[in-house]
């Protein structure tokens, strides 16, 4: 199980708490994690990645293990601490807009 921390607006949208867990089949990467997240919570489709390009939305960031993973290739393996559930994968909105 991978733990994912969602930003407030997406928690409201998906009607979940601060943290959710998802099961990822096969190698755990950003892409497979987000695919699994969107499968479990279809209302999140398009909110984290663009529906058409599948690119991360520009004002969102992915943090884990005190690192910014936002610019990591989407098919690179996630850190072991994330895949084992020791550390959460955090999706957060940039501080922007005042």
């Amino acid at each position: 199980m991978i733990r994912v921390i969602l930003p407030q607006h997406l928690r409201t949208l998906a009607n979940v708490g601060r943290e959710v867990t998802v099961e990822v089949e096969g190698p755990a990467t950003q892409r497979s994690l987000l695919n699994a997240l969107e499968t479990r919570y279809p209302m999140l489709r398009g909110t984290i990645r663009d529906q058409v390009t599948q690119q991360r939305r520009p004002l969102l960031r992915f943090f884990a293990c005190n690192r910014d993973l936002s610019y990591e290739p989407p098919d690179d393996p996630l850190p072991v601490e994330v895949t084992t559930g020791a550390e959460p994968f955090r999706i957060l909105g940039a501080i922007a807009g005042g």
Partner: protein
């Protein structure tokens, strides 16, 4: 007694205001979708409890929400808006080609007859349609593809398709408007399109009378006379009596003919309303006085409606989607401001009262009458 339901989209959520037909005492529900921008929400004429809302955010993109119970509960539906084929380019602010990119839904126009069919006007300008209640959306690509699309350029607020008018008599005829491309008409249910901007003059484009490039802010129609349209352009108020073949100016004695909203009285097709705004660089009412102007002659001859509206120190704006009329008798008129007020008149504009005073900036106002 009938119920009046006013649907308000704001910068930070949606609000639903309800009253009986007297329109004196109002219940306020909301915010729905707190913190999200609600560019527009509107009910189906065929099923008034079927509502659609455009919910968007600079962070999280576009959502479409649907309610089947008049806004008590909502369900996210499809939000994939994919341009058909290779999107190509339009003109950017500096005149260079810029790829077409979906940003948000500005306007939702439910079909007059089918609750599951809805048209969506989006930025960058295009028209989409769903026929399955919002689950999936398909572009009506003949609009962008009719020939002039590559020359369209955004207005200051973006290149949004903001007006969709469905002709209730000539079924298959659709009017739309885009900032800053102009007005367009389809006579075959959206398959093919042509510009209808003859008569418009805009001194902010190289050819003042160009076929496209005009910053149309809003178009309004009375359902009994769909060939007569009224337009609030960036500057100028205009009308056409032949479905857009030729427009002529009817600004008449308005204190300024810049503005965003325009609407038509529900029972008097020659009675129209605008809210003059000082200028395109000063988006507030002239002299700090919030005045609705009414013409009972289809334009040119205008009277100021001020009773109940602030007549000093008022510097709000009234955005293009933020006026609506109800079908009661006497006709009710509603508008919202960027200061968060929603004003209502239960007597066709003679007197106004604020329903609410302190909402987030109002982006859109629609009204429904429920039996």
């Amino acid at each position: 007694m009938s119920t009046v339901r006013v649907l308000v989209g704001t910068r930070k959520g949606a609000f639903i205001l309800t009253s009986d037909a007297k329109r004196e005492s109002w219940d306020v529900s909301g915010p729905h979708f707190a913190g999200w921008e609600i560019y527009h929400l509107k009910g189906s004429p065929a099923d008034p409890n079927r509502l659609y809302a455009s919910q968007s955010s600079g962070w999280f993109g576009q959502m479409i929400q649907r309610s089947d119970d008049g806004g008590q509960t909502w369900e996210p539906v499809g939000n994939k808006f994919e341009y058909e084929g290779v999107p190509g380019t339009h003109q950017w602010y500096d005149g260079t080609p810029h790829p077409w990119e979906f940003k948000r839904v500005w306007h939702l126009e439910p079909s007059l007859t089918d609750p599951d069919t809805v048209y969506a006007g989006v930025e960058d300008a295009a028209l989409f349609r769903t026929t399955d209640g919002g689950q999936s959306w398909q572009e009506l690509a003949g609009l962008r593809g009719h020939g002039s699309g590559a020359s369209w350029a955004p207005g200051a607020g973006g290149m949004g398709l903001h007006t969709i008018l469905l002709d209730p008599i000539n079924t298959g005829r659709i009017f739309i408007a885009i900032s800053a491309a102009g007005a367009f008409r389809s006579d075959d249910a959206g398959a093919t399109w042509r510009p209808i901007n003859r008569g418009l003059k805009s001194d902010y484009i190289p050819d003042e009378e160009a076929e496209v490039g005009h910053c149309v802010h809003r178009i309004a129609m009375h359902p009994s006379r769909p060939d007569v349209l009224f337009m609030q352009k960036h500057w100028d108020v205009l009308r056409t009596d032949d479905a857009g073949e030729l427009w002529h100016e009817v600004s008449g004695n308005l204190p300024t003919d810049f503005g965003f909203v325009i609407d038509v009285h529900a029972h008097e097709p020659e009675t129209i309303y605008v809210v003059p705004i000082k200028s395109d660089s000063e988006h507030y009412p002239p002299d700090g006085k919030l005045r609705v102007y009414r013409s009972r002659t289809g334009g040119n001859d205008w009277e100021a409606l001020t009773a109940g509206l602030p007549q000093r120190d008022c510097y709000v704006n009234v955005l293009r989607e933020a006026m609506a009329v109800d079908s009661l008798d006497p006709c009710g008129v509603y508008f919202g401001t960027t200061g968060g007020q929603v004003y209502a008149s239960a007597d066709a504009g003679d007197h106004w009262t604020p329903i609410v005073r302190d909402l987030p900036a109002v982006l859109s106002v629609e009204v429904q009458i429920l039996p």
